[in-house]
């Protein structure tokens, strides 16, 4: 033995192994442990799924009560046939985890304010923000509601057990590749995670507010200007429940407090806000047409929810068949049941209600210890919720959040001296009253809808939906169609909650909820269809105040088209869902065309103006006019408002596009047209021409970069949830835009398109921009994307058990106890 070389070689070998087994810092991030990561028997190579992978398998779990057969079709859609209903949820949980585990964990970590555990200190602001909004508090309350309901508790327990059955069978080599990349291990699922996931959807759909931005706008502008910039009424509104509908007699009468004008409406106190918010455009389309308007004589239901586009997709397609029900559609990896879809009797879908259900109250504490707060003329005792936030590579962060009782509700003081979240100034305390923190049992809706046989079942199901409020569309083989602008909504006095409110007594609190029988709905209306596209649900005759923030154009166009259509086929409906006609442009273009001072344009600008003039108002692939319009509109709005906003606080509300167009159509001498920094008085023609000149140079640059065509300018992409470009689909040639029915924007759009014709043998079509597998190493991870981009659909197959030898069945998974 040669001691020295032996020791030396052994030391080097050991050192190398340790280095290759350690995650090392690399370019501000962390590289995987390369030995482990590259090992073909342990690392990422194990996630490279064989192109002809055989998914067929036999599994045994003692948790099951009976047999479950899962038939996977050529698109990897599972058709679950269970002898016992709860066994179906067990298998749904197992399949969600089998194909989407990493995404399920990431989303629930984000919902629970636990991102710092994975990504370190970078995640702390997000984590505190979410916990202080009360996300965990809300999920705990929701879980208590679920636990009171034995049917749902059993459903959730089975679902959770299914997920854990998969997790327990994982080995180092079979971990999803994202875990290997970020060096993280899955933890067990529990029912609270399902609640957290659903609260995450509430955050996404029902947490949007502009209270800080509007408070700043109100403080900065004169009352007159504020009304002009933020009108309560939209001229172009075609509400979900048509104008002229007679509503139920009002039973709750919210009253504005005494002194509301001086204390609230005319207060000029500035607040600050720079935080991230849920997307305002989290909208959607849905409609149902009755048999008298269709070719087949049976109703057709359509739905396309517009959400952030990601890989893996938010949706997982499946069929669940158990004694008592048989449902097909898309599910949320993270929750049991079918969320949007159809069963043997009826179809159901949703668009977001979009009302403001998140308001703020300014709280006065006795001192920085926050032990007492002033309410109704006395010092009241604060409750504290102490959150321990684990941070990867750092000591825990302890956040103690004050909860104050406003009326009967305990509300978290989200922003205070210790946490402004980029939103508050730090010298004031703001409690948040968010509807999602109230008890409710959202899972019940989906369970009941999956089982629904008729209109009565549908009504009984959706009235359980409190938050996030949704426009619930329904159609049934009996011929019924319906829509309900469902939610448990606070009954507000006009202007309540638009701004931050005083929180020192009961006078500004929500005074009650709108009774469920006063929730507007339509059932088999004369016009033969129901529809919604996030527009304001009702006109001004509705007795309750429901805010001003609603996009009007998609809804108006859908109604215009549906009114004109007869003898409708499912193919006509697909065409309507993917319609790229821009009604906002139709409204705004005459202003540009009539007021352009063409003689002032140079040859280059003239060329673009001709393209604009000849544009067919469609956001199609290859359209240059669509790009020119978009650039021009943005410059025009800047030209009109830029001077007035120049000295405004950094974070402030900007008027909606519809506000400017409607103001100019009514009054071509709109006061904001004048540039306050020049001695002369600018006209509409001056502003339009100036905006176009500014656009000319930008358009020339775009043309040079080859980005003048609409789809190249817009560059629709579907990002991987970890923001890893090679796992994403970039630069898709997708048509459509914000205001078109096909509302495909750059990173946001129709996340599931569905058309269901309720003929005796249901004819169903659907597509979502993703794939059934969450594994980037599987060919099924994004195989629907091209079909979706092209506006094409798949035929949805409601399989029967007798079709098990159909050629569409590619694999079979047997689950037994």
């Amino acid at each position: 033995m040669r001691i020295v070389p032996f020791l030396l070689a052994t030391a080097i070998t050991t050192g190398l192994v340790i280095t290759l087994n350690t995650r090392l810092p690399l370019a501000g991030s962390e590289a995987p442990a390369f030995g482990k990561f590259l090992s073909p028997q342990h690392g990422f190579w194990q996630n490279a799924e064989t192109a002809n992978y055989d998914f067929t398998t036999d599994l045994k779990f003692p948790q099951l009560k009976g047999k479950v057969s899962v038939y996977l079709d050529e698109r990897l859609v599972p058709h679950i046939f269970a002898d016992q209903e709860n066994d179906a949820y067990f298998v749904q949980g197992y399949l969600h985890a089998r194909f989407r585990l990493w995404q399920m964990e990431l989303q629930t970590y984000a919902a629970a304010g636990r991102v710092s555990e994975i990504i370190g200190e970078k995640g702390l602001t997000h984590d505190r923000e979410f916990r202080r909004l009360g996300m965990v508090y809300a999920a705990e309350i929701a879980l208590k509601e679920t636990e009171k309901d034995p049917v749902l508790l059993a459903e959730c327990d089975a679902y959770t057990a299914g997920i854990n059955a998969f997790i327990d069978g994982l080995t180092e080599s079979s971990l999803p590749v994202e875990y290997k990349l970020i060096g993280h291990k899955p933890e067990h699922w529990s029912n609270i995670k399902t609640s957290l996931f659903l609260k995450y959807m509430s955050y996404d759909l029902a947490s949007h507010d502009d209270d800080f931005e509007l408070t700043n706008a109100k403080s900065y502008f004169s009352a007159d200007d504020f009304t002009k910039l933020f009108p309560a009424v939209q001229d172009s509104l075609d509400p979900i429940i048509p104008k002229g509908t007679v509503f139920e007699k009002q039973k709750v009468f919210p009253v504005a407090p005494i002194g509301v004008d001086s204390i609230y409406f005319n207060s000029k106190a500035l607040v600050v806000s720079e935080n991230e918010k849920a997307d305002r455009e989290n909208g959607s389309n849905n409609w149902a047409v009755s048999g008298k308007k269709t070719k087949s004589g049976s109703p057709i239901l359509c739905n396309d929810p517009h959400l952030a586009l990601n890989l893996p997709s938010l949706w997982y397609e499946l069929q669940i068949s158990a004694p008592g029900f048989n449902a097909y559609g898309v599910s949320f990896p993270g929750a049991p049941g079918v969320i949007i879809g159809y069963n043997d009797s009826c179809a159901f879908g949703f668009t977001n209600g979009g009302r403001d259900v998140r308001d703020y109250y300014e709280i006065k504490f006795n001192n920085d210890k926050r032990a007492q707060y002033w309410f109704n003329g006395a010092w009241q005792n604060t409750r504290f919720r102490v959150d321990t936030i684990k941070i990867k590579g750092k000591p825990d962060f302890i956040d103690s959040v004050a909860y104050v009782q406003l009326g009967k509700d305990w509300c978290p003081v989200m922003y205070d001296k210790s946490f402004g979240g980029g939103r508050a100034t730090g010298d004031k305390n703001y409690a948040v009253r968010w509807k999602a923190n109230d008890p409710s049992n959202e899972l019940k809706i989906f369970n009941m809808l999956n089982h629904a046989k008729n209109y009565a079942d549908y009504s009984a199901a959706v009235t359980n939906l409190h938050t996030p409020g949704q426009n619930c569309v329904f159609a049934c083989k009996t011929g019924d169609i319906a829509i309900r602008t469902q939610g448990e909504w606070p009954a507000k006095w006009k202007g309540q909650g638009d701004f931050i409110m005083p929180g020192t007594d009961t006078s500004y609190l929500w005074q009650g909820m709108i009774p469920q029988d006063e929730v507007p709905f339509q059932y088999n209306p004369e016009r033969g269809f129901v529809s919604s596209a996030n527009q304001k649900p009702v006109d001004e005759s509705y007795p309750y105040y429901i805010g001003r923030d609603y996009p009007p154009y998609r809804g108006q166009l859908i109604n215009r088209r549906l009114n004109a259509m007869n003898n409708i086929s499912p193919q006509d409906m697909m065409q309507l869902q993917t319609d790229n006609y821009d009604l906002f442009a139709e409204t705004a273009m005459p202003l540009f065309l009539k007021n352009m001072k063409e003689s002032e344009l140079d040859a280059n600008q003239k060329k673009y103006f001709d393209l604009l003039r000849n544009w067919n108002l469609r956001d199609d692939v290859g359209s240059k006019g669509a790009t020119i319009f978009e650039v021009l509109w943005s410059n025009f709005a800047d030209t009109v408002y830029g001077d007035e906003y120049a000295k405004a606080p950094k974070v402030i509300m900007r008027p909606f596009e519809s506000t400017l167009v409607e103001a100019l159509l009514k009054d071509s001498a709109y006061s904001f047209l004048d540039n306050i920094n020049t001695p002369q008085k600018e006209t509409l023609a001056d502003e339009v021409t100036a905006a176009f000149k500014k656009s000319g140079a930008q358009l020339q640059q775009l043309e040079k970069d080859g980005k003048l065509d609409w789809e190249k300018y817009k560059a629709t992409h579907i990002s991987h949830l970890a923001k890893l470009a090679p796992f994403s689909r970039m630069n898709l040639a997708a048509p459509g835009g914000t205001h078109t029915i096909n509302a495909t924007r750059s990173d946001h759009g129709p996340s599931w398109r569905m058309v269901i014709s309720l003929t005796s043998q249901t004819e169903a079509y659907g597509v979502y921009p993703g794939g059934q597998s969450g594994n980037p190493g599987s060919k099924y991870c994004d195989n629907f994307v091209d079909q979706w981009v092209a506006g094409k659909y798949y035929s949805l197959w409601m399989m029967t058990k007798s079709e098990s030898s159909d050629q569409r069945v590619k694999w079979k998974m047997n689950f037994d106890h």
Partner: protein
């Protein structure tokens, strides 16, 4: 002959052990083979290297080939910042080879008498 037997034995034992043990079991296994089959240090190093170079290179190529290189395309963009599945296979093979080579070298010194 010893040289080829060492290569084949190292590759086989490393493959089998990795089915049950962590990736780094390739180091003690290569070491063990070098102890059992004494060779000069240079030869031991080379046989360890070739064993794992071939094992890891071959396995990753076979997996990737059956995957139509789908994941290797994405992963090479992510790790190597260039779209080259074969380079990623080469890097995999080199790393496996290097660990085994050094371990085998250590093993050969344990047996070496002069």
């Amino acid at each position: 002959m010893k040289f080829f037997i060492s290569i084949i034995l190292t590759a086989l034992i490393c493959f089998a052990s990795a089915l049950y043990l962590p990736w780094w079991s390739i180091a003690p296994m290569s070491f063990l083979v070098a102890v059992l089959i004494p060779q000069r240090p240079g030869k031991a190093f080379l046989s360890g290297f070739l064993a794992l170079f071939l094992l890891w290179g071959g396995l990753s190529f076979w997996i990737s080939y059956q995957n139509a290189h789908l994941l290797a395309h994405k992963m090479s963009m992510l790790i190597l910042k260039m779209d080259n599945p074969y380079l990623l296979i080469l890097v995999t093979a080199l790393i496996g080879g290097l660990v085994a080579a050094l371990a085998a070298l250590s093993g050969s010194y344990l047996r070496k008498t002069k």
